[in-house]
Symmetry: C2
Amino acid sequence: FAKVKPVFSLKNFIHVTLLSPAAERLRHILREEDEPTPTLFTEMDTLQHEGGEMEWKESARWVKFEEKVEEGGERWSKPHVSTLSLHSLFELRTCLQTGCILLDLEGYSLPQIVDDIIEKQVQDGLIAPEIREKISFVLLRKHRHQTKKPIHRSLNSPSFSGTYPSQCRSMNDISVTPSTDQLKNKFMKKIPRDAEASNVLIGEVDFLDKPFVAFVRLAQAATLGGLTEVPVPTRFLFVLLGPNGKAKSYNEIGRAMATLMVDDLFSDVAYKARDREDLIAGIDEFLDEVIVLPPGEWDPKIRIEPPKKLPSAEMRKSVFSLNELGQPNGNAGGGAASAEDEEIFCGGLWLDIKRKVPWFLSDFYEGFHIQSVSAVLFIYLGCITNAITFGGLLGDATDNYQGVMESFLGTALAGVVFCLFGGQPLIILSSTGPILIFEKLLNNDIDYMEIRLWIGLHSCLQCLILVATDASYIIKYMTRFTEEGFSSLISFIFISDALKKMMSIFNYYPINRDFKPDYITSYRCDCQAPDQGESDPDPTRLNLRQFNFSALDWNQLSKKECLWFGGSLVGKSCKYVPDLAMLSFILFFGTYSMTISLKKFKASRYFPTKCRTFILRKLISDFAIFMSIMTFVGLDMLMGLKTPKLIVPTEFKPTRPDRGWIVMPFGKNPWWMCLASFVPALLVTILIFMDQQITAVIVNRKENKLKKGCGYHLDLFWVGILMAICSFMGLPWYVAATVISIAHIDSLKMESESSAPGEQPQFLGVREQRLTGVLVFVLTGVSVFLAPILQYIPMPVLYGVFLYMGVASLHGIQFWERMKLFLMPAKHQPDFVFLRHVPLRRVHLFTLVQITCLAVLWILKSTMAAIIFPVMILGLMVVRKMLDLIFSQHDLAWLDDILPDKDKKRKEDEKKKKEKKKAGKSEEHNNSDEEVSLDF
Amino acid sequence: FAKVKPVFSLKNFIHVTLLSPAAERLRHILREEDEPTPTLFTEMDTLQHEGGEMEWKESARWVKFEEKVEEGGERWSKPHVSTLSLHSLFELRTCLQTGCILLDLEGYSLPQIVDDIIEKQVQDGLIAPEIREKISFVLLRKHRHQTKKPIHRSLNSPSFSGTYPSQCRSMNDISVTPSTDQLKNKFMKKIPRDAEASNVLIGEVDFLDKPFVAFVRLAQAATLGGLTEVPVPTRFLFVLLGPNGKAKSYNEIGRAMATLMVDDLFSDVAYKARDREDLIAGIDEFLDEVIVLPPGEWDPKIRIEPPKKLPSAEMRKSVFSLNELGQPNGNAGGGAASAEDEEIFCGGLWLDIKRKVPWFLSDFYEGFHIQSVSAVLFIYLGCITNAITFGGLLGDATDNYQGVMESFLGTALAGVVFCLFGGQPLIILSSTGPILIFEKLLNNDIDYMEIRLWIGLHSCLQCLILVATDASYIIKYMTRFTEEGFSSLISFIFISDALKKMMSIFNYYPINRDFKPDYITSYRCDCQAPDQGESDPDPTRLNLRQFNFSALDWNQLSKKECLWFGGSLVGKSCKYVPDLAMLSFILFFGTYSMTISLKKFKASRYFPTKCRTFILRKLISDFAIFMSIMTFVGLDMLMGLKTPKLIVPTEFKPTRPDRGWIVMPFGKNPWWMCLASFVPALLVTILIFMDQQITAVIVNRKENKLKKGCGYHLDLFWVGILMAICSFMGLPWYVAATVISIAHIDSLKMESESSAPGEQPQFLGVREQRLTGVLVFVLTGVSVFLAPILQYIPMPVLYGVFLYMGVASLHGIQFWERMKLFLMPAKHQPDFVFLRHVPLRRVHLFTLVQITCLAVLWILKSTMAAIIFPVMILGLMVVRKMLDLIFSQHDLAWLDDILPDKDKKRKEDEKKKKEKKKAGKSEEHNNSDEEVSLDF
């Protein structure tokens, strides 16, 4: 390898200038602020000798990554990173140094271009004039592309003998217009619309004794017949013909050229180069940036999969443009957000509205997508299950003043209004635990509905005051610590509730554990007539006394009838219900595990359809929950057992016959109650405010990439108004439900389809719109009419869905990842960025603090203190504040980096970066000092 | 980047010599056949200025891959491939060109070495004599290593002010003996015993105006105090000190040097270099081999995980040694096998024994390993489940002449003998389906046991003849096609049997689907007294007639008693058994899924123990089945329901009281029967021969990396002998059980622990020994005494284990992978090597042929023709032979490449390679011709 003799001296490298001469040259050509150059599609064809014939056969192509033709397999390889040898790059460099360079050639057809190239070479004395014809003949052979079906020799143009004809007659195999094969090629979809092609032609011939090299840039891109696989006009042409025997080496040079052509920076250089030296400078700059893998640590045969993320071309180019390095363009949404965030804390409601109105129309038409259907079905089932559960519990707590019917109606009403006009329509409103406890406490001997109305009105007023005073400013203090802590806790509660509900089925349908199949004869349950002399304590049954008991065939009575008539059930099997609990468990666990498996399906490779398999797999993932529900509903129907089903009310009337749909504000309670209810209202307000805003913070997480901005004030405004309306109508109160809102967002996530082969699909954001939410709640409203369908859905299936929701909402939470670190030995821990910058024991300490907080909250929640549960979030924020005393700002920046206020964060980051550079070392000192004081 | 000006001309690159000048040089120094150089451990320390103090801090280390110190995280990064910049490599090259090179320096302590370096530099005029002291001071600063606990400044040697003292007093921070920290360092385990260290020291100082570079090789490796993290003697020292401001660049140069030092080839060069030019040649050679990633397709920040496989250093070095490139040494096992394989087909039994005897002792002591325990438990449970199932079926088929007891005894006897003396002790013998069908057919009015004895004797004789005539030669024709086809089919049968058994539980314990909890009162099952006048058909119950029926309280009778007394069961619940079927399903499916999940656990990261976590995870994977069984046995006990349990015989006596343990050969049948039984015996022999040998082929698969060779003849010999013995004792006949044998092998797989950080564990082979087999069958023999324990194991759990066995034995079968290809769109298919070389439609065609064959076999198997099932394997082999007509040898080589005869294959491979080179193109022509003739 002594061929490479880098001649740069030690002096040279020490007193290195900021920009090398090559870079200086490039800065000169790249600095002009003209429009971006087109994307290049590169195709490499190699010359094949088959019998007496020659043809060009496609051997690889590049959009961004390399796809190779698998010779034997007659297929395209997977896109992979082009691994080159340094050797081939240097050889290419030499080629460009010595070969023929034609820039801005006026070319319209391949024969003419070939003629021009050869003419130039002859002029330069690079080739002998007598091989002119032969070269031209070779370069004009037909091009065979790797299309779906292999093109067989027998289908080619009629073969002719004689190697290099001296006449021009059959010189030209190249057609002028694009072939149908070209036009039909579906690969076109993967190439950007404005792309141009660069063609690399590599071949061995027997009449040359030294290589024939040409690099051509056309003045205008031109479609050169069947040269390229796809009908993309060619701009660049690189030809390397050489003497026999070095095919492999030529091939590598061709790959190096092709790789250079698709390099963002070099393709720019190629478009703008003024002369040979510019191109060489381009290669040198490329060489300066290449990443080198040592031969002993990597096998060159491994095809490297395209990375998930790439450094942006902008960043690489920015070195050469004179403007400041920072601020890459794009990110317009971010800019908008920056304006917004300032407004949140000073403008309030008005600015929320101003921000939301422009999107209002798109909030509807953007909802028209198949994904919305699955989201609606999923969230609808979640909502009605919640409505039924809370409805039942509320009914118990309030003597049926608010029952299942009220719960449905309230959910529908509040949901529709909020999703239509709220600031963050992705939030799903629902009854929550603390509210339930509050109602339970409230229901004393006072007139319940009236006092509740007053509390609601006060609370509404307080909410409006909070809106007016921009109190939502407080969310600024809800960092990742608070937010993740809260959402984890809610998720845990969700999971534990789902499990508890499942377990309650085991209590409701007890299993006879002592059952011995052989003693089946001893298991029975008889209805025994009551002792006639015994007095019946139930007055409603008094009239039954007249009934002729002896005429009653007690043995024919069902369990319910028997008990109703005052009989008692005697027998070994009375307490037990066979199979139902077991089947329920199978349904519960089956739904959960099937959903989890199907969700993972997106990442798998299966599915036989030819086109848009990605979409199909996405669909399967989107409809995972629906498919699981259907499967297990089907299984349940197949088994035909009487598992507990989803029973919704079928008639539209208040649960309690003695109440109407409107609650009157006065009359039943003393007048001072109207004022006194201000105090409990305060509690409700705090409760609602905290619950609502932290859910909004979670929904607005940076990771969700929301584009339409947030609307904390507007949200609170509507929650307040709905408080009042619900109170008037005697419906439950509603506030944002964390887990269901997260599920809503998860079911609306969008991913880009990969464009260039090998590029990874990127998470684009969430389908932000109001349609799904509105539909969910409209459906909830008309559930009364859907009852005949809904009754087929077994409750355990829905509990399985709830379990899934709880588990899924833990996904991607850093806190959860940090918890898992406890279980891993250090060397197996994933390469989280915070682990690179914060010592493990500090990470663990931080996690432990969080766990402790959650444990305390969990305990509080399990007692009646649950009512002040949302207030505890304030506690979390205080704890977070105190962490500043224990942890350095450096550590906290890595562990607790996300403030809801995105732009403020960005500014801080920039500041921090600067500071870090300065204070890097001194901070490290502080750090280690701290540790000393802690450890010793 | 114009600093790099590779000056090699186009001419140069065309007329390239086989070896470049650099390579020529290296060939000169590397060609000597002396002993291999030690492995190098490289540590890079950078100079840190903290306040007024300076110290060297470890920043990275290399055994094979790079581990970086995460500054903030105070931890080691994961081992990764060192990605270098080309720039730094060229800068390093320049450093070595201009710096000070000291080869074979006599050095015993760091101060002396430092003095020598400085002296040389002063002599060469590279540094001014007046900074001598300063450099010496810097180089002798203390070294702080990245150990578990951070060493704090306060614990360091007392700080002193004044930057560079002119006196020699406190010059030396370096201790002479290794510190306890060094000695206690557990990392030592990861470094090969004979390793030597190379130290790279990189620093910025303010008194230099140009870099100070030194490369030192010591004549003898010496422990230089606390220089290195581990007490490994230092051989190489690279120092780069430079003026302030270029820390990052120096750092990269240091990384490049360190990476070079751990490169197999360069480290050899470094040990053997005679002068500076040799080192430069080493770098050039390294540069020639590096792999270059284009900057636009890869992010330099990504840490590349170490690859699974690396090109061997031998191959890289072989270019320089004069002997032929091929045949890398090692692979002694392969050589041994080569001798064997020739013998199999000509020597037979004797050679089998000769091959097995030397291993006989190790066959026992190699079994002492914790893994064997799990294997024994797992296979034991499989065997007794099989014994019980087949015992029951055999009992039905043979009027209890052979029942569960005989099945247990036979399994134990045959198994112990075979595992002790057989040729392939990893094979597990068992009853198989075809044998069962044969016995069923045989059991006619003739005296069953006697005729069976004669068939057994004939069959034994025939087996011995097959052994003597080396008939096992036929296995040569069992290619991957036959072998995988057969084993897939057996696996499918296994899976379907497991599911069928599970389903039969649903039939055995029917679920009352019409059960309505409310009508519990109507479900009962009464025992009704028989009509007294009715005649009782059962004579055994005749004496009951005397019994006073009216005294019997029919209601108190159990189901069994009721039926026994002739009563009938009347009632809605009689037919049904609650909960058992459901619980059985939960146990079945739970065991299966838990085993699958735990098996995957090995790949996961969890587990908190500090050392040998790999082992622990391996253990969990090894004991996966055992843990699942225990869990669900526990669940079953917790539920307390009467699920069907594993009931083994508790007394040692023949199932049928009228038979003894020995069958007499004469007396009950006409004499000609003894001769006529020759004909059915022939069928049994073919059946046994095929079943036995194909299982042996599967067990001896190349993928299993067995080292002790095969013993087809010896196997058959013992199977024959056992036939005779079992026939005499009236026990079932035994032959190799495919799925359980595969499970046995799977449970004994060994993996290497990774040595150098980042190296992937490799599959080493199977724990080949006789101990596990013997123990399994001894346990089977004493199961009579284990009955009290075994009765806690529910059958559904064991069916789950069977399901797992069936599914697991499909794992890694190419046929199965090819089947899955049908479901994947081409671009998502995994990168199988055969897909690179064979067109997809040919692959699909091949798979389809296989599927068709299996479907036919499956249908045959479902009819009574199942008895000739093993003969069908011959059919498979014929089909395979016919495939030669449809597929080219090239395609078949890729799709059906494994012949059981390993060495023949290897030779053919070599031949093929040569042919391919020659015939490459012409074969491709043939190929495409063929396709034309097929497609059109």
